[in-house]
Symmetry: C2
Subunit: 657 residues, 2 copies
């Protein structure tokens, strides 16, 4: 199952026992939670998260990205969000590129990138918004759209006027303050608002003090925190903070950290921001300006030293990084500072979406375990994600997955790479078995290529699935084409690095699960075998036409992952749900065609082989309900093969399907 971690910690949030909170009669009136509150961070606003971290003295970091120019750049950036999200940023922010149609539905727009970060990567995100040369209507439209997409935080900026001869517009947006006021006026308290601070004064400001007064106005207009422009010396920021406090600015002020990553990028940035590089830095980098590695190393070292001073000052609750959409330097600085924490603890066994309407989501069908973005996409129109259920009789509809090239569902690999992995030319069904087997084992195929993904799994095997590697290899080799599985777990600690999730002190459980495609001949034998495993094993077997064979109680979901935690109700985040299996079935079968068959020419033998499998194989899922015992699912498959190997029996039973 997915092992990605958003910045979400479980909160103990307990009453002070010595303080002896006196609830008494009043507690009777208090509202009841309708779902176990797994995690306060999930429901809290960014300002509240900051407040809590400041109170606990727990430093944070945040990461700034800009929208990519191309769709393949967008796919890469989203992968980067997933990787950098694993280090635990408090939030990320996406800049607003007025020239790039930033509010549009294009895959590369600021709006869509920020939406993707929130909805599909589960990251708390701040969308930049600039206001100069914009009508109020246009700005309101952007804000409404952002709200609809689940964005909750705005970085309010003036932006750069077009041309040199900018003049103030009456009634228009002339300063960021106007935008802050507009947001508060039109959207009340809905958005958390960030504004920019300039440690050496805004280049266009009349004076440093004048600029500070502008900043105070922005905060007074309703901003919740400040992120500063980059700077090169810790004392620059510390003086600035002191000056801000002196004029009554009390909100968090986050220093903008820019690890120098190259000579040319530094020069360009300095030019744009009209900053001066201090002499001591120039003296170091001028002599090594042709040595990229040396400059990068220096940049890391310089940023680390400066951040240490900032954090030690006690004035800095968190660091904001200008990443330039790169990973290495920022991650290294954070590692050296001890702020990059790849916490293997997961709040739930699947990656949580940060859309506010999904804040109570605590159960999903297991089928989309390797395609969480698809699940989120297909359920994006649902009104709520109620306690323990992901729909009800009046609104269980899954959205159609019509566009298989939806950018966040797109394979990270180009067509050529896919052909290299999955075969330029398929000879038979067995060629397909080999692809699945090589994916499991991690061995190279006959052309020397490793299979890094399959249509149903865009990433290498999860560490949990690795536990089942030997058995999976064996069955895939014989045409049991596995696409999803989990081992049984009988009460491991919630802190277990591989299968653990949820708050500390708990216990997690799983029923063994196996999902695979296999031929109708195999299914005929399997059904014979399964009679011996009643009622221990539940199965759902379906072909592309929707023919459905099951022994499961009518329409009842089977919980296959659950956790028991101190002071909480049971959490059962993963279920095998008969209704959603029929929706998953459509998607799982379609992936054969859309992602695999279409790599080959029409009417080509390779395409026909995939098409044959699509048309004739069954999708099977098996649950072993007896979670305290060793899984019997491998024995079920073994029994199936034994039965298939005894020819008279398979003939007798051939008519069953």
């Amino acid at each position: 199952m997915v092992n990605q971690r958003a910045d979400i910690g479980w909160q103990s949030s307990k009453s002070d026992s010595s303080g002896a909170s006196n609830s008494g009669e009043s507690s009777k009136e208090s509202s009841r939670c309708s779902t176990p509150v797994l995690d306060a961070d999930r429901t809290d606003r960014l300002r509240d998260k900051m407040k809590r971290r400041i109170e606990s003295g727990d430093h944070w970091f945040s990461l700034e990205f800009f929208p990519p120019r191309t769709t393949s750049g967008a796919v890469n950036l989203i992968s980067r969000f997933d990787r950098m999200g694993s280090g635990g940023p408090l939030f990320i922010d996406i800049t607003w590129h007025p020239a790039g149609d930033p509010g549009s539905d294009k895959e590369t727009s600021s709006m869509m990138i920020a939406s993707t970060a929130v909805n599909y990567c589960g990251l708390e995100s701040v969308l930049h918004l600039t206001c100069c040369n914009q009508t109020k209507e246009k700005i309101s439209a952007h804000l409404n759209k952002a709200k609809r997409l689940g964005l909750k935080n705005i970085m309010a900026l003036r932006g750069d006027p077009i041309g040199e001869d900018w003049v103030e517009e009456d009634g228009g947006f002339n300063y960021a303050t106007d935008l802050v006021k507009h947001i508060r006026c039109e959207f009340d308290d809905y958005f958390d608002i960030c504004v920019a601070g300039y440690p050496t004064g805004h280049p266009e400001a009349e004076s440093y003090d004048d600029d500070l007064r502008h900043l105070k106005e922005k905060v007074d207009a309703g901003a919740h925190f400040i992120v500063t422009q980059l700077f090169f010396r810790a004392e620059t920021f510390l003086k600035f903070t002191k000056d801000c406090r002196a004029i009554g600015i009390t909100c968090p002020i986050l220093p903008g950290i820019f690890p120098i990553q190259g000579y040319h990028s530094l020069r360009q940035l300095v030019k744009l921001s009209k900053l001066e590089v201090p002499e001591e830095i120039k003296q170091v980098i001028e002599p090594i300006k042709e040595n990229d590695a040396a400059i990068r190393n220096y940049g890391i070292q310089q940023a680390v030293e400066m951040c240490k001073v900032l954090l030690a000052s006690g004035e800095v609750p968190g660091l904001h990084f200008y990443t330039l959409n790169r990973e290495v330097a920022t991650m290294e600085v954070l590692r050296q500072l001890g702020l990059w924490v790849e916490d293997p603890r997961r709040p739930l066994p699947w990656a949580i979406s940060a859309h506010p309407k999904r804040k109570e989501e605590d159960v999903r069908p297991i089928f989309w375990a390797s395609r969480p973005k698809s699940y989120i996409y297909r359920t994006q129109d649902w009104d709520d994600f109620p306690n323990g259920r992901w729909g009800n009789s009046s609104s269980p509809a899954f959205g159609e997955l019509t566009d298989y090239y939806l950018f966040y569902l797109k394979s990270k690999s180009p067509k050529e790479a896919l052909l290299q992995m999955w075969g330029e030319e398929l000879m038979s069904e067995e060629s397909v078995y080999e692809v699945f087997t090589n994916y499991i084992t991690g061995q190279t195929n006959s052309n020397g290529h490793k299979i890094m993904c399959l249509p149903w799994n865009d990433d290498p095997l999860a560490s949990e699935t690795n536990l089942l590697k030997d058995e999976l290899e064996k069955v895939n080799r014989r045409g049991v084409l596995t696409i999803n599985s989990q081992p049984n777990i009988n009460g491991k600690a919630s802190s277990d690095p591989i299968v653990g999730w949820g708050p500390p002190g708990g216990y997690v459980f799983q029923k063994a699960y196996l999902e695979f495609f296999t031929s109708s001949e195999n299914v005929t034998a399997l059904l014979q075998v399964l009679k011996k495993y009643e009622p221990r094993v539940n199965y759902h077997i379906v072909n592309v036409q929707g023919r459905n064979i099951t022994n499961a109680p009518d329409m009842q979901p089977n919980a296959v992952t659950w956790g028991i935690f101190p002071g909480r109700e049971i959490v059962q985040p993963t279920v095998v749900d008969p209704v959603s299996f029929m929706f998953w079935k459509d998607e799982a079968f379609a992936l054969w065609i859309e992602q695999w068959a279409k790599l080959y020419e029409d009417e080509s033998p390779s395409r026909m082989i995939i098409k044959y499998i699509h048309d004739n194989y069954y999708l099977v899922n098996l649950v072993d309900n007896d979670f305290p015992l060793d899984s019997c699912l491998w024995q079920v498959i073994e029994d199936m093969f034994v039965l298939l190997d005894s020819p008279q029996v398979t003939q007798d039973e051939g008519s069953e399907l």
Copy 2:
């Protein structure tokens, strides 16, 4: 916890795997269950239960009772319902006594007795209703009231006209058929309807055939099954059934069985029913008519023999017993027939109510474990019992328990017996400790009386609590006055005779729980000790004024009993809920006064002692979250005593409360 069993079996209700149900697309439209369907019997109607039992060839029995004349008779009858319910009747029925204000709210009315059987004893119940000399309005009012109280089944009877000179009334109810028609007309399909059959013809009928035709009319008007008048020979019933079938009556026909229990009761019944006792029976009982035991033994033997013939005929799906409100004879007949099955399996760990609006109830706070009738009473106005929650922010209110002498909450023991058990005169708080200790150990007190109940526990210790007997004795002796507890359970089979519940093939779990009253001095030490047990132990500590000390996450229920079953979602039927604890607290403290202190005279030392405890003690509950380990709760109490025994520490900490 309560270990009472209603006639509720878990149904596997699985699809036919070989039949290969083709749900396909259609399954997408099907409605979703909003709660795990634990038990088909709970949602099914009586006619459906009968249908299923007939199909499976599983014989049933049912029991007829009449309403008692006195309120103490009512208390006894309700205890009898609980005891006789444990043998697994498919339903019970309550006769309608026109002379006894049968539709009133009196504790002894037919209506209230049937309502109690449904709501508080969880028994599928049939209310008799007679129609002659009644207006349509009156009848409709009775039926509406029955529906409101959760009754779903009516036995439609004509009843005995008043006086000898009865004449048909135009437009009135002259026959049971009229009543059946009226029920169907006014209430559509809501009620399951039973009618009476007369194996030897109704005494007022013109002929046997004429009476059969009347019966056919009643069934055609909408009755669902027939219960017959008593008879003495199996062939009488079998001929009658054959004749019914011959004229097209197809519904179930249940023979009314009357085990002869005494010479005089037989004579009286025969006179009323205008039946003739066969010669062969007369010959046996006349010689022994003064020997009650001999007659009873004969009655049992005669009934068993007749029932064996009936069941062997294949014409009889179930037996209906005229109990005369007595237990012994009917239970013995049922035991000898192998129909009395005290199935230790419970569908949930607490006794289920049979009110239709509670059919999805699957979670309760643990506090009312020994007072389930009080819980049902206090939640009777709730609109629904939604999945996994017992209320929501808009309607969590518990009804006030104003009347402590409410008949179904009344102690089974009279005041004198209570005084004998709990002490005619209390000398000190220690006298109270002794009462609790003797209740736990089962030993007699200094006056030679066994303590069979306490205000919080109207029954002897549950077998589960017996597992904790030694520890409980030890702590009660020192003033930790326990009123509720359960051991931790780490995955025992759901079929376990002591702690098991739910369908076969599952596993049940519990967190250790302990609830007690104790002095404020003890609580001060306890709070010190509990710091060492964070976060393993959750506690709620409250006094009568509502001062509440807790380390539990805000308002979150803690699941303390749960089960994992094949093909189902997790079921968590028992929780420690902070909100309802405050309601329970009121009830638990009030019981000191209402049930105990008021036994003694105003201002008497005994009453003052109980009053002192009520005013000064705290109610404490403790949960050990680490269910896979041995419970630490006994160690917590032990540590508290150790701390109390070291004088300097208690002085230092004396100010904490």
